[in-house]
Amino acid sequence: MKENYFFQTEGLSVGYHNKVLIRDISFGIKKGEILTLIGPNGSGKSTILKSITKQLSAIKGVVYLDKKNLYQLSSRETAKKLSVVLTERIKPEMMTCEEVVSSGRYPYTNQFGTLTKRDHKVVMEALEKVHAIELKDKEFTDISDGQRQRILLARAIAQEPEVIVLDEPTSFLDIKHKIELLSILSEMAKEKQITVIMSLHEIDLAPKISDRIMCVNGEVIERFGTPEEIFTEKIIRELYSMQEGSYNMLFGSVELKKPSGSPSVFVIAGGGYGIPIYRKLQKQGISFYTGILHDNDIDYQVASSLASEVFVEKAFMPIREELIKKGQIAIKNCEFVYEAGTPIGDFNRANLELLTYAKALGKIRNEKDALKVQRSKNN
């Protein structure tokens, strides 16, 4: 408790029926920060979220919200400070979206739940915040998944909390709605200084929205830090125990498994022209060489995940003669050489040499042929 954290746990052990699933969770985040929990299915992300929202009682440890022990706050006080968006899919019959959002005013209204002018105003503002004013008179069960999620977020906002906890808020949404929802969260965190704690499955989106990342996998939390610290190929691969496929830190994207076997194709590429061909070859399970690329080339990011071997030169350096030789040997062993269509300039002139060499051997196929590989193979 020395540091100035707004939301903090100390030695928190969580689990069901007194069986510890994850122990000694200690972390802290500042007001207005976004913390995202990532990790494989069933790793306990929801269990942690349920424990810090008191849905589940913690087995050991303390949660502090604004220096107060959350477990000692009354449920009404807690409700005024912390609201949730759950994975539980609800089907309230005959309730309009406005009524669902209004339920967020619960901790503030009187015994009969009468809404005051101010309550109505807060509800309207919340609906506006999630761009859902036009949904207010619609029945909650009649709207789409994306709209529902926004209404539930509005409900959480109407509770005027200091912390919002969301369990996989983007799970059922298409990409447009995912981005929309995360943008609203990000805005809220910045403008209203609302602290956001959530779990996400989208490791491509997580680093873009979060200030802190927690990796949940196994009995203890091994990693907690900034997205820059966490999102490296090694950590992500370990976290999700990916034996196949790979994670690209710069793109934040995932590539599937590298084709196995000895390469039968050489792709002369560069400048992004190679990527579609690499992916096409991967889908057909054809292993390949590619080159000659500089290590700052965009093609290199994907090539290093998918190619059996990449002929690579250091950035901004002229291509060494021995690399060209190696390339030529590779071409000699290949069935075909694909020309991705990369323009040739001063720095990659070596590729021209490879092209000429391949032409002489009659192995050249152009980019269009490359994309037809599948058909000819099947015939």
Partner: protein, 340 residues
Amino acid sequence: MREEIRQQVRYQIVFLLLLSLVVVALILNINTGSISISPLRIFRIVFLSAESGSTESNIIWKIRLPRLLAAAVLGGGLSVSGFLLQTFFRNPIAGPFVLGISSGAKMFVGFVMVILLNYVPQIPVAVVVLASFVGSLLSMGIVLLFSRKVRSMSMLLVIGIMIGYICSAVTDFMITFARESDIANLTHWSMGSFSGMNWTNLRIATILILIAVGITFFISKPLGAYQLGEGYAQSMGINIKWFRILIITLSSLLSACVTAFAGPISFVGIAVPHITKLMVKTAKPMIVIPATFLCGAVFCMFCDLIARTAFSPIELSIGTVTAAFGAPVVIWLMAKRQSK
């Protein structure tokens, strides 16, 4: 805002309609029977205590009025019990009868009757109510136990119906081996009827049911939050554990009361809350609870009227009539759910 005003007007119209239906049902019920009595005389007998000692006065005060009021109060209570169970199980087809709760109460009451009648000539009402309550809670407990195992709503109903069958089987078994003299009593009661209600019993039933319905109305706000699911309800500050116990106790008490005095009555608990919600076009407990109570009162009074008069002088059991009107509503509900 305009939508809100429209809703307010709708509530007022529905309540006015239900109240006038209550009045109509009251008059019709007192008026109709083997001896029909004109509304004017009814008014004089009931409100001015005129003609005391006459046959008409006796019929009204000793037979028709207690029976009628019992139908109203018990019908209302049963409907509110159904509403509570539907909210609790988040299942529109839940109700005290289909979940086997009424049958559990019936079995327990039957059991207590068969045993106690060996020792005492008349069983105190309190004992019957208590037995019924214990039986309700017991069946409810079994249903709850299974509700943790089965996620699907229809499976829960199947389990409830099976529990109902088991309890009925046990009751039949007891009836088979009961003394001749008890059988008439027991068989009649186990079929369900509002007849034979006296003022003492009516008073007890009314007090119990009004207390339970009153408490239910006072927890409208948390009930509304509970409709969003337990997770959300808790996040809004509701103590779920206690709230669950409260709902179960209230719904069991209500249906136990009805079973103790009138025997098991089917389908009222499911059908009435739905008819009500369709009328008020909302599920807000604050509105639905009083409306359901009124609607249940009207529904049961009319059903009892039909039970009494349709094949007069032969009387139908109340369950026969309520099933005839209630079961189609349930079929319609299930079909509607499937198509959604």
